[in-house]
C-alpha cells in the first residue's frame, strides 16, 4: 500500500548532510584542549556581570529574592566606586525554572555579553546543567544556595553551605538533645535524596534510628499518608527536606494530626524567613531550622544589610540565608578581583584562598582548595512573629568539607 516513488529526494539530503558533516570535523576527545576560554570584555569603564535566576516558573518566588540581594550588593559597590575603578553593569537573564534554559542563558552571558562573572542558580539541577558550560568556557559562577555537597568544580564558587555546615550540625543538635530516632521526609529530587543518604550514614554511626523515609513529588500537596506514617512511627524527630509549596500542605497536615514541635520537632533545611511567611507561622511556631544566617543574627554588618534591604525592597520583606549568601558572593568576587588586581578568571581563582569578608552572618573566608567558604552553622527556632531566632551555633566558622572526607562514617559516600 505504501509507495515512495521518489526516494532520491531523501537520499540526496542524507548525502549532502554526510558530506558537510565529514568535511566539518574538529578535534577528537582526548586531544589537547584548544577550545574554550572566552575572555571577559573589560575594555570600557564598566565591567559586566551576569545575573542568572529564575524570574518565571515554580522557582521564581525564591530566586527573585536572590536577584534582589545581588542587585543590592551591586548598587552598594557601585556607589562606593566600583571594582578596580570600574562600575559593575549587571546583565539579567531568566532561567525560567528550566535546566536546559539555564545552560542556554549561561552560554549567552559568557559568549555574547562576555561577562566577568555570573551570580545565580538555585536548584542543584540547574547548577549541574550549567557546570559544563562554565568549565568549557573557563568562566566563573558564584552559587549562593546551600546544597548536597559532593561537588567541586574549578569554575564555581559555592557561597552557600555544604552538608557539613548545615545538615551535619542539624543532626549533631538532635543528638545533643537526646533524640534517638528520626523520620525523613523530602521532595523527590537530587538534594533531598542525597541529603538523606548522608543522614542515614550519619545515623548508623551515631546510634540514631531512621524509622522511615518518604518522598513527595515537587509541588505535591498530598501529605495525609506521609503524615500518618510519620505519626505511627513514633519517631522522636523529623528531618524535613521538602521544598516550596509542599511545606504548606505538610505542616497543615502535621498540625491537624496532633503532632507538635514539643512532641515531635521538625528540623527543616529549606524553610527560611521568606517561606515562613508564605506557610504561616501558626503551623510553624516552635519548629527548628538549620542555616548559617537568620535575619535576627546579631552584628553591625547584618544590621546594615537588613536596613539597606528593607529600605530598597520594602519594610515587610524579610532577609534570608540564600539572599545573604548571594549578597556576600558579590562582595567576595570584588575582594578576589582586587587582590588579583585583574578580572582574569585564572588570576581571580588564584587569588581566592584566604579572601575574607565581614558578612552579615559573621566573618567568612574562602577556602581556595574547595572554593567553598568557611561558615558558622546555626540552628534556629521559628517564632510567633515569623522570624527565626538562634538556639545553637557552631561557635565559629566551620571549614567546608564537600566530600565529607573528615568524617569516618561518610567514607562510603563519595
Amino acid at each position: 500500500m505504501l509507495r515512495f516513488p521518489r526516494r532520491r529526494l531523501a537520499a540526496g539530503a542524507v548525502a549532502l548532510a554526510a558530506a558537510l558533516a565529514v568535511s566539518a570535523c574538529g578535534s577528537k576527545t582526548g586531544e589537547n584542549d584548544t577550545a574554550g576560554g572566552v575572555t571577559a570584555d573589560t575594555s570600557g569603564d564598566t565591567v559586566k556581570v551576569g545575573l542568572l535566576n529564575s524570574l518565571s516558573g515554580t522557582m521564581a518566588i525564591s530566586e527573585v529574592t536572590v536577584r534582589d540581594a545581588i542587585m543590592l550588593a551591586v548598587e552598594e559597590i557601585n556607589a562606593a566606586g566600583g571594582v578596580l575603578g570600574k562600575k559593575i553593569a549587571p546583565v539579567g537573564e531568566d532561567g525560567a525554572s528550566d535546566w536546559p534554559t539555564f545552560a542556554e542563558k549561561a552560554e549567552k552571558l559568557i559568549k555574547v555579553d562576555r561577562v566577568a562573572a555570573v551570580f545565580g542558580c538555585w536548584t542543584s539541577a540547574s547548577r549541574k546543567a550549567v557546570k559544563p558550560v562554565f568549565e568549557e568556557n573557563k568562566a566563573l559562577l558564584f552559587y549562593p544556595v546551600q546544597y548536597e555537597g559532593l561537588e567541586q568544580s574549578p569554575y564555581i564558587f559555592y557561597t552557600g553551605a555544604t552538608t557539613n555546615q548545615q545538615i551535619v550540625p542539624g543532626l549533631d543538635y538532635l543528638k545533643a538533645q537526646g533524640k534517638k530516632s528520626v523520620y525523613l521526609v523530602g521532595s523527590d529530587y537530587v538534594f533531598p535524596r542525597t541529603a538523606n543518604k548522608i543522614i542515614k550514614a550519619y545515623a548508623e554511626a551515631n546510634g540514631l534510628t531512621v524509622l522511615g523515609e518518604d518522598y513527595a513529588p515537587l509541588g505535591s500537596t498530598e501529605f495525609g499518608t506521609i503524615v500518618n506514617k510519620v505519626k505511627a512511627s513514633k519517631a522522636e524527630a523529623v528531618f524535613n527536606t521538602l521544598n516550596g509549596d509542599s511545606n504548606v500542605a505538610f505542616f497543615k497536615e502535621y498540625k491537624s494530626a496532633g503532632l507538635t514541635a514539643a512532641s515531635m520537632p521538625v528540623v527543616s533545611v529549606s524553610i527560611a524567613e521568606e517561606e515562613v511567611k508564605s506557610i504561616g507561622t501558626q503551623y510553624l511556631a516552635g519548629q527548628l531550622t538549620a542555616w548559617n544566617y537568620y535575619q535576627t543574627t546579631t552584628g553591625a554588618a547584618n544590621d546594615k544589610f537588613v536596613k539597606a534591604y528593607k529600605a530598597k525592597f520594602g519594610a515587610d520583606k524579610p532577609t534570608s540565608d540564600p539572599m545573604e549568601a548571594a549578597y556576600v558572593s558579590v562582595y567576595l568576587w570584588k575582594a578576589m578581583v582586587e587582590k588579583a588586581g585583574s578580572f582574569d578568571v585564572e588570576k581571580v581563582k588564584g587569588a581566592s584562598d584566604g579572601v575574607t569578608f565581614e558578612a552579615p552572618e559573621g566573618l567568612v573566608t574562602i577556602d581556595g582548595a574547595t572554593q567553598h567558604i568557611h561558615k558558622t552553622a546555626r540552628i534556629g527556632k521559628i517564632g510567633d512573629d515569623g522570624l527565626i531566632t538562634e538556639v545553637w551555633n557552631s561557635g565559629g566558622p566551620v571549614k567546608p568539607d564537600p566530600y565529607l572526607k573528615g568524617y569516618t562514617w561518610a567514607t562510603g559516600l563519595s
Binding site: 500500500m1 505504501l2 509507495r3 515512495f4 521518489r6 526516494r7 529526494l9 531523501a10 539530503a13 542524507v14 549532502l16 548532510a17 554526510a18 558537510l20 558533516a21 566539518a24 570535523c25 574538529g26 578535534s27 577528537k28 576527545t29 582526548g30 584542549d33 584548544t34 577550545a35 574554550g36 524570574l55 518565571s56 539579567g92 537573564e93 531568566d94 525560567a96 528550566d98 535546566w99 536546559p100 545552560a103 542556554e104 542563558k105 552560554e107 559568549k111 555574547v112 536548584t123 542543584s124 539541577a125 549541574k128 546543567a129 557546570k131 559544563p132 558550560v133 568549557e136 559532593l150 523527590d188 529530587y189 537530587v190 535524596r193 543518604k197 518522598y215 513529588p217 562510603g412 559516600l413
Partner: protein, 363 residues
C-alpha cells in the same frame, strides 16, 4: 508550476538557508541555538503528520523525545566514562558496584543509535495497538498520552542512582569520539541535524502524497466511512503514530549532542504541550507549517526572554492567543490568506476556516 517542481524548489531553498546562509550569518552560539530549534522542528514534523493529517492529538511526544534522548545520552555518558567504568553521577548518587544490566547494551554505539529510533517506535506501537483497536480517540487519547508523559517523569526522578533523577544526564563531553567543546564539532552536529530535518521532510512529503496519506486524511475526517470501505482505521492511525514517535526519538537523540543535556524537565507534560503549541502556531496540516511554527516559537522564546527577562512569559502567551484567535490555520495559512484577499479584493474574503489541505491538493 507543477507541484513536483515546486517541491524541488522549496527543498533547494531550505537546503541553501540551512547549509549556507545560516552558518555564514550566525555566530557559533546562535547556530547552536538554531540546532536546538531544528530538533524541536523534527518533533513537529511528526506531530504534523499524526495530528495535522491523522487527527491524533499527540500530547505526549515528550515521552518519545525522552526515550531517544536518554538512549543517546546513556551511550555518550558510557563512552565518556571509558571502557568498564561507570558514569560520574552513578558513582556519586547510586553507590552501585557495577553498571546496571539495562545500561550495559547502550555501550554499543550501533545498539544505542538503533534504540534512539526503534525504542520510541516500539513503545508507540505497543500503546497504539492497544488504544486504536479499542477505538479510544479524541480527548481520551490525549489524556492517555499526557498520563504516560507524567508517569515517565516520575519514574526517571525516582531512579536517581541510575537515571540522574531531576538533574538528568548532563556534562556530556564527546560525540562518537569528537570533542563537543570544539566549535567545529558543534557545527558538525548542526549540519547533521539540518540534514536529518530535510530528509525527514522529504520522507513526510512522500508519505503525505502517497495513497496512505490520502487514507490517513480520510480516517481523520470520517473514520466510520473508511471502516465501511473495508480498511482498518486502527492500522492507518498506528502507522502515523509510530512514525511520529520515531521522529521524536531521533530529535531527542540529536538534541543531546546539540545542547549537552537531557532531563525530565524536557519530556514531561509541559514540554509535550509546547511541542504541540509550536505545531498549532505554524499550521498543523501543511508540510512546512509545523517546522516554521516550532522554530518560530523556540526563537521567540529565546529572543523575548533575552530582551525582557521579567515579562517575556506574558508576551509569549499573548502571541499564542493572537495566532489562535486570528490565524486558526497557523502561520502557514498566512500566504494563502494574503493571496485570496488580493484575488477577491471586491467581494469580502471567504472565512479562513477551510482546511488547509484542500487548498494544497488543488494547487
Amino acid at each position: 508550476m507543477s507541484p513536483r517542481v515546486r517541491a524541488w524548489l522549496g527543498f533547494g531553498l531550505g537546503a541553501v538557508v540551512l547549509f549556507a546562509a545560516a552558518p555564514a550569518l550566525l555566530t557559533d552560539f546562535r547556530l547552536s541555538l538554531l540546532a536546538k530549534y531544528l530538533c524541536f522542528a523534527i518533533v513537529a514534523v511528526g506531530i504534523g503528520l499524526a495530528w495535522g493529517r491523522g487527527g491524533l492529538l499527540t500530547l505526549g511526544q515528550g515521552v518519545f523525545f525522552g526515550l531517544g534522548g536518554y538512549a543517546m545520552a546513556m551511550h555518550l555518558k558510557l563512552a565518556d566514562a571509558g571502557e568498564g567504568d561507570m558514569p560520574d553521577f552513578m558513582q556519586l548518587y547510586g553507590q552501585l558496584d557495577e553498571l546496571p544490566a539495562w545500561w550495559a547494551p547502550f555501550a554499543n554505539p550501533v545498539f544505542a543509535l538503533a534504540a534512539t529510533v526503534l525504542l520510541p517506535m516500539l513503545v508507540a506501537f505497543g500503546l497504539g495497538s492497544l488504544v486504536f483497536r479499542r477505538r479510544v480517540r479524541g480527548a481520551y487519547f490525549a489524556i492517555l498520552s499526557q498520563a504516560l508523559a507524567a508517569a515517565m517523569v516520575i519514574l526517571l526522578i525516582g531512579q536517581q542512582g541510575t537515571t540522574g533523577g531531576t538533574n538528568g544526564l548532563t556534562d556530556i563531553e564527546g560525540f562518537f569520539g569528537y570533542d563537543l567543546d570544539d566549535p567545529v564539532n558543534q557545527r558538525m552536529v548542526y549540519f547533521i541535524i539540518a540534514g536529518v530535518l530535510l530528509a525527514l521532510l522529504a520522507l513526510t512529503r512522500q508519505l503525505m502524497h502517497s495513497r496512505y496519506g490520502e487514507l490517513l486524511v480520510a480516517v481523520r475526517d470520517s473514520e466510520e466511512r473508511v471502516r465501511f470501505l473495508g480498511y482498518n482505521p486502527a492500522n492507518v492511525k498506528l502507522v502515523a503514530y509510530v512514525v511520529a514517535a520515531g521522529m521524536a526519538g531521533l530529535a531527542g537523540a540529536l538534541f543531546v549532542p546539540a545542547v549537552g543535556i537531557i532531563s525530565p524537565a524536557l519530556i514531561g507534560i509541559v514540554p509535550s504541550i509546547e511541542f504541540v503549541i509550536g505545531v498549532a502556531v505554524g499550521g498543523r496540516a501543511a508540510l512546512l507549517g509545523p517546522v516554521l511554527g516550532a522554530v518560530a516559537v523556540a526563537w521567540a522564546k529565546t529572543a523575548l526572554s533575552e530582551r525582557f527577562p521579567g515579562t517575556w512569559t506574558y508576551l509569549q502567551g499573548a502571541m499564542f492567543v493572537l495566532v489562535v484567535a486570528f490565524l486558526p490555520g497557523g502561520l502557514a495559512s498566512l500566504w494563502g490568506l494574503v493571496k485570496r484577499r488580493r484575488e477577491a479584493a471586491v467581494p469580502p474574503a471567504p472565512p479562513a476556516e477551510q482546511p488547509v489541505l484542500v487548498k494544497e491538493a488543488a494547487a
